[in-house]
């Protein structure tokens, strides 16, 4: 079963506009969530995280929102830049297991 889901395989956004990437999870024990960015032929790089005690975390152009009741998180990128074009993965973890479960990724394309 897919415990972490990214239902949009791809997203296109104009440069300067907001990009919103979504992620849903099913396991209520997850308490830590992360977003990673991956360019072709490179390993994923960490972007931003949020723990279950918060509902928002901001870092520059990147903001992650967590809605625990809906088991949903989203990553907002404002303003979007062509260099943001990559595959974005969300991941979730339960501190009791240290195991990180990744979604299937969303390919973001920012159009100049």
């Amino acid at each position: 079963d897919q415990q972490v889901k990214q239902n949009s395989p791809s997203l296109s956004v104009q440069e300067g506009r907001i990009s919103i990437l979504n992620c849903d999870y099913t396991n209520s024990m997850f308490d830590y969530f992360l977003w990673y960015k991956k360019y072709p032929a490179e390993g994923p790089t960490f972007l931003i995280s949020i723990s279950s005690i918060k509902d928002k975390n901001e870092d520059g152009r990147f903001t992650v929102f967590l809605n625990k009741s809906a088991k949903h998180l989203s990553l907002h990128i404002v303003p979007s830049q062509p260099g943001d074009s990559a595959v974005y993965f969300c991941a979730a973890s339960d501190i009791g297991t240290y195991k990180y479960i990744f979604g299937t990724g969303t390919r973001l394309k920012v159009l100049a």
Binding site: Y98, Y100, I101, T104
Partner: protein, 117 residues
């Protein structure tokens, strides 16, 4: 180096051969993870180590897959009698032990691309 190092970066092998993939984590990181990304797929969890022990091997696809970690550092993922469906990018990541919120992010290597002919 300062990051997670994986070798080889590319490996082409014939069906039925054994392969070994190596991961050198960031110094001091106690946790080490192996993931696999098949073409067009997401990151599939394989195994993780806390120190030298592997509390969770649940993601290993079959008994042809094994992994070990020695000295709390370098890890080797071994695939015996490779099959074409084993073709994928194998990613290693390491982290400090989680000690509460906002800790324990994974640092990934660049991956080892395995092609089984």
């Amino acid at each position: 180096g300062a990051g997670v190092s994986q070798s080889p970066s590319n490996k082409v092998t014939e069906k039925g051969k054994d392969v070994e993939l190596r991961c050198d984590p960031i110094s001091g990181h106690t946790a080490l993870y192996w993931y696999r990304q098949s073409l067009g797929q997401g990151l599939e969890f394989l195994i993780y180590f806390q120190g030298n022990s592997a509390p969770d091997k649940s993601g290993l696809p079959s008994d042809r897959f094994s992994a070990e970690r020695t000295g709390g550092s370098v890890s080797t993922l071994t695939i015996q009698r490779t099959q074409q469906e084993d073709s994928a990018v194998y990613l290693c990541a390491s982290s400090l032990a989680r000690q509460g919120p906002n800790t324990g992010e994974l640092f990934f290597g660049e991956g080892s691309r395995l092609t089984v002919l």
